[in-house]
Amino acid sequence: MSETFFGKSVKRREDARLLTGKGAFVDDLKIPFTTHAAFVRSPHAHAKINKIDLTAAKAMKGVIAIYTGKDLKDSGVKPIPVGWLLPGIKVPAHYPLAVDKVRHMGDAVALVIAETVYIARDAAELVEVDYQVLPALSDGAEALKKGAPTVHDEAPDNVCFRWALGDKAATDKAFTTAHKIVKQSFRNHRLIPNAIEPRACLASANAGTGETTLWVTSQNPHVHRLIMAAFVLGIPEHKLRVISQDVGGGFGSKIFIYPEECAVTWASRALSRPIKWTSDRREAFLTDAHGRDHHTEAEIALSAEGNFLGLRVKTVANLGAYLTLFAPAVPTYLYGTLLTGTYKTPAIHVDVTGVFTHTTPVDAYRGAGRPEATYLIERLVDLSAKALGMDPLEIRRKNLLTSDQFPYQTPVALLYDSGNYQGALDKALTMFDYPGFRKEQAAARKEGRYLGVGFSTYVEACGLAPSQVAGALGAQAGLYESATVRVHPTGKVTVFTGSHSHGQGHETTFAQVAADELQVPMEDVEIVHGDTGIVPFGMGSYGSRSGPVGTAAIHMGAQKIKEKAKKIAAHLLEANEKDVVYEGGKFFVKGTPGVSKSFFDVSLMAYLAHNLPKGLEPGLEAISFFDPGNFVFPFGTHICMVEVERSTGVVKVLRYVAVDDLGRVINPMIVDGMVHGGILQGVSQALYEHAEYDENAQLITGSMMNYVVPKADDFIGVELARTETPTPVNPLGIKGAGETGTIASTPAVANAVMDALSPFGIQHIDMPLTPGRIWEALRGRKEA
């Protein structure tokens, strides 16, 4: 038997270069005669551009060109399109450089190209923009008020879309029969992704061939190519090559087609010079798409026994100043559809209003819509337990869907694939002694120490997405994935995947999958990604889709290879194809393994073509597109234990236990790592991170000096375990693993803090649960 790799913690191949400083991140690349870009950005959140004076800047030695929004527009540059449309949605034009108005702090108004980055920055400071400052707003709820400043003339009331899902009549009815109704308003605050590698691009136009190469920090280079070529710049798609080699984290923020790469690519073509731009962290805070930012009113109808009867949710989603690529999908199809959670709630209605404000655009950030939904449900579950005097575990057990209910059609459009929610909860409770904790908690309270526990029994929908379904719901693209499996004459294999790795370790995990399927050693398999010039097509990585969708395409490609190889082998063995088996890397007639042809023999013959079955084409290569039939639905139970210090409001996480069911797992080490990181991002939303604007829509948490990116000593080690319920949606049974941690953890932490504060009669505090906010809530309160 040859060694198999699926399920093994194989050490990562990409680490050899990343550990030694040999990675190839965009800013590391050097091309001769490269020029440098700097953007002139609006200090105001809302202003009319009266005049831009470039005289002083242009006079600077070393300045090559300076462009304004008008220059780009006049030359035919089109607005950056939106990739997901909803009925009645308003899509105001979003030009790479603002044309006559700026609509958020940091909106770019001019692009300076100079011989060095120093000169570009110096010159950018000399560009004089005469702004007529206009009133601005930053809050989504404020945007809907009468007399609020208008962001776009197309949407005088600032409403971008109104969207609803679910059976309203049934939901209303559930509320009329309720024993109790629990209502709560929730603020799911705005976050800033802060991948540690800032965005960057390097565009190089070749005037001779008419080809342009763009290296860009993208999670989906083919999507970048398609949109920039076909929609924004009008470059023939085959004349634009987009390369994203090593990318330093994305978390959603590197999905979108940003103004900077459009403007820089255009300018490179205009000047026939390579141009590089690398974002400062300050620019990143102002321009990387933000996440979350909801105002929600939610109510749940409960029976006397604690059954969830109905859920009603009204959300205002702040979309920022412009719509970016997936923005409309995030607070709708990625949010409203998940409001069932893991529960049997029979009737759900959700109503979402997307609004424009004078803030940085909001789009998918790790979890994208699903963390917002999960936070809301899991908080409501705890509030319901409180209202009924039940234990938070008891109410969960009562309402959790049971294993025999799958596949389960939810009242909000999704068909859950498979699940064993009780199983994950049970396992988590073997790791966390709940009765023991309650005793410890009671004892601690007597000493004036406040411990709390929080549960999150979550499910999420990922593995985006069945193309037909997505298309029917407004997606402007298919969401399949492609893979090309190329077997070389020597039997070595190159796999070209349309998925993109920016930390996920595809070069390793995808090789594990391909090596297993083809029964070859892992070192014989190379994974290539992130280059539209080499990889035929791809949709990239987001929505935890690389595992469930990307590897499935590889699996399919490998089957095609094996089929063809078997034909060749049978021919060489002078046997009937039906009698030939492939085992341990050898083809032989069933029962006679002594006479065999190796993978190498067959590969070589495929290319020598001296002796092939009649009519069979030479070569051994296959392209496959996997279009999933459904989303996949990872789930699990997270338990967080905290201590809240009464005197300062400081929260300390004491333990964090997570049991996740991600279906089958290719590489446990890598999946654990992804869950670790995801959990901290969610914990950090609950406790630390918060993008705040002032009354003039100025971002006041605009640097790492005041926006908390958690450090090692802000958290503890997490305790992980898994259950394994394969999904029938893809051939490998894989559910996604990239976002579960973030989706599950935020409510676990918030529930734990509220549990700790329950002796004071506190039911809810909006996140982030900073010491100051907790202390304020406790102010003047006595223990009950």
Binding site: D15, L19, T20, I196, P198, G248, D280, I670, M704, G717
Partner: protein
Amino acid sequence: MASVTITVNGTPQTREIETRVLLVHFLRDTLGLTGTHVGCDTSQCGACTVTLDGMAVKSCSLFAVQADGRSVGTIEGVAKEGKLNAMQEGFWQEHGLQCGFCTPGMIMAACALIERNPKPTDHEVRVGLEGNMCRCTGYTNIVKAVQTAAAATAAGKR
């Protein structure tokens, strides 16, 4: 402009540079040692950590001219003759990196940490690395990696 001579990973490098060139840009852009990364503009993230005369510093927080005559160590100089050092091995073994962007700085800081404190507690590792941000790993495996490296280093010295 100024002339500087900085010994980088053991080799003296003399260059004419603008005074305003930060040490990190000298390494990356003048010498082409792009393993040292830039992740912020307020000297918070630690992606640019190198050693200056043996001490871990953020190379974005001083100008190259200030390092004239001194000795700088970068990630490119950590592995000797193609052999990874204990910290690099620890990070590999324990999966202490995902995107790898923070990693060079993290390794430089972690090497300095175990040099000063060869047997740190997990908490000491966490506090010791507070000048380095990682957005991918949640730090759990970074702590393990440093402990693995510390143990290997201690075993190697015995």
